[in-house]
Symmetry: C2
Subunit: 110 residues, 2 copies
DNA sequence: CCAATATATGTCATTTCTGACATAATGTCA
DNA sequence: TGACATTATGTCAGAAATGACATATATTGG
């Protein structure tokens, strides 16, 4: 969260911390979720970059539109496995996946 | 596979290719399996580095000795999720995990 | 060699993930 | 506005992953 926004909310009476704090996540749980969100976000970027609808991507992945929507939304019912396999099918390399995984996701920044 | 060894086997009548070729894996499937194997290997290294038995690690992970054995063996019944969560609990960072994931695994080298 | 310890392998009930479907919500364009 | 396309959300039966257990197979130290 941008510190300006944080300050603004605090002024209005909100106690604002990280998402991890709010959800009472351990560092490991946070890292795990951050990784999934980073992949989710990238999946959507990749799809849009290729001008595909969720339906079309679903066909490529032999999945369904609703599952693609859940993947992109970071739904907890979606596994790392599915995200990784999907991105590989979309053409990501191990190296590029690694890069994605190592980069922080804005919603979780301290 | 080292090319000297490869040549030797071919001389004896073996048709030797990559593991991926033998198993008829697509590039995506290969990459996925390579990533799992890289994590498996690292999990074992981490465990041994801490001088833990599989039983002790299992307790840390709230899992069982047999599942730890399967994780380290790269058993197909083990998910990326489990490997990643385990390594995070063992203290790996997202960055170090990314590094592991991006590095090739010997058994799959072309 | 024998014990003791550690690791591997097989199986299985329970839990979790998945694709599929229906339908709601949102967006787009004339 | 309204039809049409796209995306989001809820649900569920079937598939896959998980922990646990038994037991087999190393491995280690006398």
């Amino acid at each position: 969260m941008r510190s300006a926004k944080k300050k603004q909310l605090e002024t209005k009476g909100w106690k604002v911390g990280t998402v991890a704090e709010f959800l009472q996540l351990s560092p490991e749980e946070s890292a795990y979720i951050e990784m999934k969100l980073a992949l989710s976000k990238n999946l959507q970027e990749r799809r849009k970059g290729k001008s595909l609808t969720q339906e079309q991507l679903a066909n490529l992945l032999k999945s369904s539109q609703s599952r693609v929507a859940k993947m992109e939304a970071g739904d907890p019912s979606v596994s790392l496995d599915l995200l990784v396999r999907s991105l590989l099918i979309l053409g990501e390399s191990r190296k590029s996946l690694a890069k994605i995984l190592s980069e922080p996701h804005s919603a979780f920044a301290a």
